[in-house]
Symmetry: C2
Subunit: 313 residues, 2 copies
């Protein structure tokens, strides 16, 4: 069965039913089915919104990844931006562009992957759009809320800040290398929403960004926005046990994957000089946190220490 | 010059500069440049959000329409959903998917078309995403605000309501017919935002929808959501002077274009039986309003009086 057999309104009804089964959320006043979705924020909250597109053949391939995992990644990638701002999710919209020949079972799996992650993160699907297109793409817009004036930002690091990262780096890049060598990607990153929310209101928090372009590239974004430079302790970059051995099996350089591999979806953030250390922070954020460097004043005339992550053009 | 010559971050910077020139809005706390945009609603407002994708070759063609007009339409189509809910715009996000070979001048014109309309409607560009794709598409997500509990909806028409439509119908459908016959589309619909906001809080307002799929199809959506049927006075469907003659020149049936032509972006709404007539309503909404029918009880077992508009599959 193909999407064209459902018809446009049949497809929308199928999405609406699956979204209802996955559950709604406390913020949702009107979900799928009207001209727009209606959401209610708390009285002293700001709205946080981000959009992220995933295109078949560019961001995902079904010979590398199951449709269910591709759906998970599409929403995870968008939700990671909410995590980076310290927001709690309110809901998501899906703009689906697809060839009418797409297999309904493949589509159902894509949707299930996204809806399962949404249910786990408190982010119901509240609306969207379906359009015919020659290539499959999923564009998720995610909406979140954060206490007024408390959102985490990129432009608030200061010289002297300590630099931290959540979790472990390089797993996505390594999975991609294995896929290029004929393997499958089974790694499913989970956006660090709880850690981001814990950072909001932490005394002495500086700047924050999520790692999507790769550690060095995203560090460059922090440098640009905050007008500082960073000294990075590369030996401290967190990796899973056996990471080097797994890199060796596909002929990849571990230091390269750790520093330049994209789509880790970990949080990269700074804290003022005095404050909790790795242990206390890890407990507070609910995830292992590693101190990997510090912010220093930018030399006049010197560029930032950018390095290349994934570029679209 | 092609988009690939700018590079991904060069393209993003180009969009950010153009968006800054077009102006920001009172709701915007953080615009383009962080992980997500940050907006502030009023204390007693709900958030309204909708997303709409336009794909080259499906929704627009540069041999039919200038890039500037195509950009205008892409945002207009999304803003029309805010109008249908009675919301005031806060801002928009653009997920751009494009071949790297796209001419920068074409892209600039697309963007200018959207940004001009956004400036006119108080809807600044606050964020987005750029991705490489084999086909050009623009997905606008629009954010708006409406007084709590006062949003216009599809499911609030009642038997006995009078049915109204703003503006004139069939112009888009006629422009498409002319384009198919070798002409160009110069028609630029403007979303009925002011009319939608005026309807919010109008005593006796019933249901509202914008006409995107075509009058009959969207009337069908109102019927489904509100569980009523509509009697339509087809002779009263509003058309521009000379509409029939222009239809005759391209061999189109005027009644068909008026009733089934899509993308009029007019508002279709109901009012309780007693209340203002066409003249008073037109003054209040700032646009000509025509009474075109009424809602009646649905016959048990009878389907709605649906007719076909544009279908994607």
């Amino acid at each position: 069965v193909r999407l064209r057999d459902l018809g446009e309104f049949g497809l929308i009804e199928r999405i609406a039913r699956a979204a209802r089964r996955a559950g709604s959320g406390p913020a949702v006043r009107i979900g799928i089915g009207d001209d727009a979705a209606l959401l209610r924020l708390g009285a002293r909250e700001d709205l946080v919104v981000s959009t992220d597109a995933r295109v078949e053949g560019v961001h995902f391939r079904f010979d590398w990844q199951s449709p269910r995992d591709a759906g998970h990644w599409a929403l995870a990638s968008a939700l990671s931006d909410l995590a980076a701002m310290g927001a709690r999710p309110l809901g998501a919209l899906l703009a689906l562009a697809t060839p009418p020949s797409l297999d309904v079972a493949v589509f159902d799996a894509l949707l299930r992957g996204a809806l399962s992650l949404g249910a786990r993160c408190g982010c119901p699907l509240v609306g969207g759009n379906v359009a015919r297109a020659p290539v499959l793409s999923l564009t998720f817009t995610v909406l979140g809320a954060v206490a007024r004036g408390r959102a985490l930002r990129r432009d608030t690091a200061r010289a002297g800040d300590r630099l931290f990262v959540t979790g472990r780096l390089g797993e996505t890049a390594l999975a991609l290398r294995r896929a290029e060598a004929g393997g499958r990607i089974r790694h499913r990153p989970v956006p660090r929403l709880a850690a981001g929310r814990a950072l909001v209101g932490l005394p002495g928090v500086g700047a924050c960004i999520d790692i999507s372009d790769g550690l060095l590239a995203d560090l460059g974004h922090l440098e640009e926005a905050s007008r500082v430079a960073f000294e990075l302790d590369r030996a401290r970059l967190p990796r899973a046990p056996g990471f080097e051995a797994r890199c060796a099996r596909v002929g990849a350089r571990p230091d390269h994957l750790l520093a330049a591999g994209g789509e880790d979806y970990e949080l990269l953030f700074t804290l003022r000089r005095r404050g909790p250390g790795e242990g206390a922070l890890s407990r507070r954020l609910g995830v292992r946190v590693t101190e990997i460097g510090r912010a220093v004043p930018r030399q006049p005339g010197a560029g930032a220490s950018r390095a290349r992550g994934f570029r679209h053009f």
